[in-house]
């Protein structure tokens, strides 16, 4: 079974530029999550999708971050404009069923450095 795919793996941009990350979850997984992991910290949930609907985005900085999951499969996370404090690893995870003790499977992450 193929795992969660993310691209790019690494990205370096200057502050105020825009950047987008892509995630392809495990086939058949209805729930998709985006996390931000700053160096030395635990992941912080940014947004959770159930199929193509948003379940929770309470910790997403909506003035600069946006995410979509068209057709309930792939998802993109965008930052516009980026700030220095956005430097982090952005992790995508998917699970088969939310709220029932499901296991989240994580992708390799995208490492973002904002200069």
């Amino acid at each position: 079974e193929a795992g969660v795919a993310q691209s790019p793996r690494y990205k370096i941009i200057e502050k105020r530029q825009s950047v987008a990350f892509w995630c392809n979850p495990i086939s058949g997984h209805a729930t998709l999550y985006w996390y931000q992991q700053i160096l030395g910290q635990g992941p912080k949930l940014l947004i959770q999708f159930q199929n193509n609907g948003v379940v929770d985005d309470s910790q997403l900085p909506k003035d600069r971050f946006s995410a979509e999951r068209l057709k309930g499969v792939d998802s993109t996370l965008k930052i516009q404009p980026a700030k220095l404090e956005d430097s982090a690893v952005y992790l995508c995870a998917s699970s088969s069923l939310a709220g029932k003790g499901e296991t989240q499977y994580f992708g390799p992450g995208t490492r973002l450095l904002v200069l």
Binding site: Y35, G42, G109
Partner: protein
């Protein structure tokens, strides 16, 4: 705001020794997760605990959950070098289903 606290944050132990990592959380939850993360790698699911008193074991790791105390433990038995990694607990809020991760415990097992 929900808080998930782990201790210790850093743990250095010798091979063959036993130790316990603690995870305290501040909200009502019916799901507690443990993950492992190797340096530069993504997270790997270890355990999902769904009820008070739940205990799960895999190899040298055993996790337990006390929902009344809002406490989970990850016990390491006879540690080996391959267990060196960062371990995270994560809690799903009972109402709203938001996930919150702990700060992580960086474990180093010394041969």
């Amino acid at each position: 705001e929900l808080k998930v606290e782990q201790n210790p944050l850093f743990l250095s132990m010798q091979e063959g020794k036993n130790y316990t990592i603690y995870c305290n959380y501040s909200t009502t939850s019916d799901r507690l997760y443990w993950y492992r993360q190797d340096p530069g790698k993504s997270l790997e699911s270890l355990f999902v605990l769904l009820s008070n008193g739940a205990v799960k074991q895999e190899g040298r790791l055993m996790a337990s959950l006390d929902t009344k105390a809002r406490l989970s433990t990850l016990h390491i038995t006879a540690a080996v070098h391959d267990l060196s990694a960062t371990y995270f607990c994560a809690v799903a809020r009972k109402i709203g289903n938001q996930f919150y991760f702990g700060t992580g415990t960086s474990l180093t097992v010394i041969p």
